[in-house]
């Protein structure tokens, strides 16, 4: 493709876009809406994943050694615990340390200050490799001789995993549906352009223009519409995300939820929006113009 052809295609594409101002505006508007909905669901999934990752890092389970076991006997169990599947690490906490931690937690309550150290079990704080296997790991630890009981927050972990899975599936389905809707809308806009220019297309074919030559201006138009949509969508998504993140942070009842700062992911969001916008635009153009190139 020669240099003057590239400029010609780009100019024609831009002229097409402005000559159908209202339809272009409508297409950009709807594509932006689709991109924002897609982006919002993706960001919800990203945040659910991030929260799950935090939970994984924080959600240690406690394995209590039989009451009465000596500190040496208890420490000797570390090897067996580390050999259990899905155990990423184990930190020994003696009865003295556990009692001290307990007393410090209730330092205002005299009732608990006199508890003797040997009322507490030696224990291991265990990190898991995958929070999804918390139940199986708990059962395996409970089966070890010398372990009296295991304390794990299974319900919370299961809740997060369910949210992550549901959000993931919903995201994929919604992204696919919205992408198809966007391509359809884009195709209709370009179809209007091609219909409006059908005489010109007929003349181009008559004088011997190749399909590629006829197609390029429409591909540029779709590309530009998609790119505009992506740029507008990106900044709107940014604003929307920051607004939601601020309101979550300022709300006492839901401020336990932490959000990933947008600045940490803006480059990914920008690239994904740009690629999605351009694919929707170019895909829509190609789908619209194919009918006119058959003769």
């Amino acid at each position: 493709m020669s240099r003057h052809n590239i400029f010609y295609f780009a100019k024609e594409g831009a002229v097409n876009m402005f000559s159908h101002g209202f339809m272009s505006f409508a297409t950009v508007g709807i594509t932006v809406a689709c991109l924002i909905i897609m982006g919002t669901f993706t960001l919800v999934a990203v945040n659910a994943n991030a929260m799950l990752a935090d939970l994984e890092s924080e959600s240690q389970i406690l394995a209590f050694v039989d009451l009465g076991a000596s500190e040496e006997e208890a420490r000797a169990m570390e090897k067996e615990i580390l050999a259990v599947d899905n155990v990423a690490g184990a930190t020994f906490i003696s009865d003295v340390e556990a009692a001290a931690a307990f007393r410090s937690r209730y330092e205002d309550d005299e009732l608990f200050q006199g508890l003797p150290d040997n009322n507490f079990n030696h224990r291991f704080a265990i990190d898991l490799a995958d929070i999804g296997y918390m139940r199986e790991t708990k059962e395996a630890l409970e089966a070890l001789p010398g372990i009296e009981s295991v304390q794990a927050y299974e319900d919370e972990a299961a809740g997060f995993i369910t949210i992550r899975n549901v959000a993931g599936v919903v995201c994929v389905v919604l992204i696919a549906v919205l992408a198809l809707v966007s391509v359809f809308i884009m195709a209709n806009t370009i179809k209007l352009t091609t219909f409006d220019r059908r005489d010109e297309i007929a003349i181009m074919k008559m004088v011997g223009a190749t399909n590629g030559f006829i197609r390029w201006p429409f591909v540029y138009e779709g590309f530009l519409l998609g790119l505009f949509s992506a740029v507008i969508g990106f900044f709107l998504q940014w604003g929307l995300y920051e607004a939601v993140a601020r309101s979550i942070a300022s709300n006492d009842t839901i401020n336990l939820i932490t959000t990933v700062p947008f600045v940490d992911m803006w480059s990914y969001v920008a690239v994904i929006f740009a690629i999605a916008g351009m694919l929707i635009g170019v895909g829509g153009s190609l789908s619209a113009i194919s009918k006119f190139l058959q003769v």
Partner: protein, 228 residues
């Protein structure tokens, strides 16, 4: 050269437009194709510009076999043929000059080539002074001359004119025919499809008459020698 050999064209609705048509036009010839409505004239033109494919038989246009032509080759075949229609098919919103630029750009011509070729073609049809006019500001005859100039832009070896004088008065029709005759004299093959008997008879040219998808007469004058 144009050669159609035993060409049959059956449309999907079952209409037999051509029934074993055979004809040949040598390079540099001027030929009128005449015939009543439904005789197959338009189908021949569509075949010659690669708009449709023959159901049977062979169609050769300037070295391209249209029976087995690949889709990507069709534009290159069309560049060897300039087509003129009854309704001129100019872009109303573009000036004469821009209509010409549009046609040249469509085949990938560069600015230098465009600046050189368009004045030459406009001069050939006598419209060099009206290049900035819109088609609506020109008479029918002038618009057809623009269409002829556009058809000549890519220096085709053949001009196919489908009822080029259908929208013109007799004086303008004669003017257009004389122009086509002059273009033919420069070496371009010319095929004119028409049903204007008086006009055809004013020129001492070969006339091919079609009826029901076959050649029924081929020779000089409206009623040439019978071939079938």
């Amino acid at each position: 050269m144009i050669r159609l050999t035993d060409v049959v064209k059956e449309y999907p609705n079952g209409t037999h437009a051509l029934n074993g048509l055979t004809m040949e036009i040598q390079d540099g010839e001027f030929v009128f194709m005449v015939g009543p409505s439904g005789s197959g004239k338009s189908t021949v033109i569509k075949l010659l510009i690669g708009e449709i494919e023959p159901s049977e038989g062979k169609v050769m246009v300037n070295g391209f076999s249209l029976r087995n032509i690949r889709e990507w080759q069709i534009p290159y075949m069309r560049r060897t043929v300039g087509v003129i229609f009854q309704d001129f098919r100019l872009i109303d919103t573009k000036s004469v000059y821009d209509n010409m630029v549009f046609a040249m750009r469509a085949v990938g011509a560069g600015p230098k080539e465009i600046r050189k070729r368009i004045p030459y073609c406009l001069n050939l049809v006598g419209l060099e002074n009206k290049s900035r006019r819109l088609p609506s500001e020109l008479s029918g005859g002038e618009q057809q001359r623009v269409a002829i100039a556009r058809a000549l832009l890519n220096n085709p070896s053949t001009i196919i004119a489908d009822e080029p004088t259908g929208n013109l008065d007799p004086a303008r029709s004669l003017e257009i025919m004389r122009l086509l005759e002059r273009i033919n004299a420069l070496g371009t093959t010319v095929l004119v499809v028409t049903h204007e008997k008086d006009l055809v008879n004013r020129f001492d040219k070969r006339v091919v008459m079609l009826e029901r998808g076959r050649v029924v007469s081929d020779g000089k004058g409206w009623y040439g020698r019978r071939t079938q």
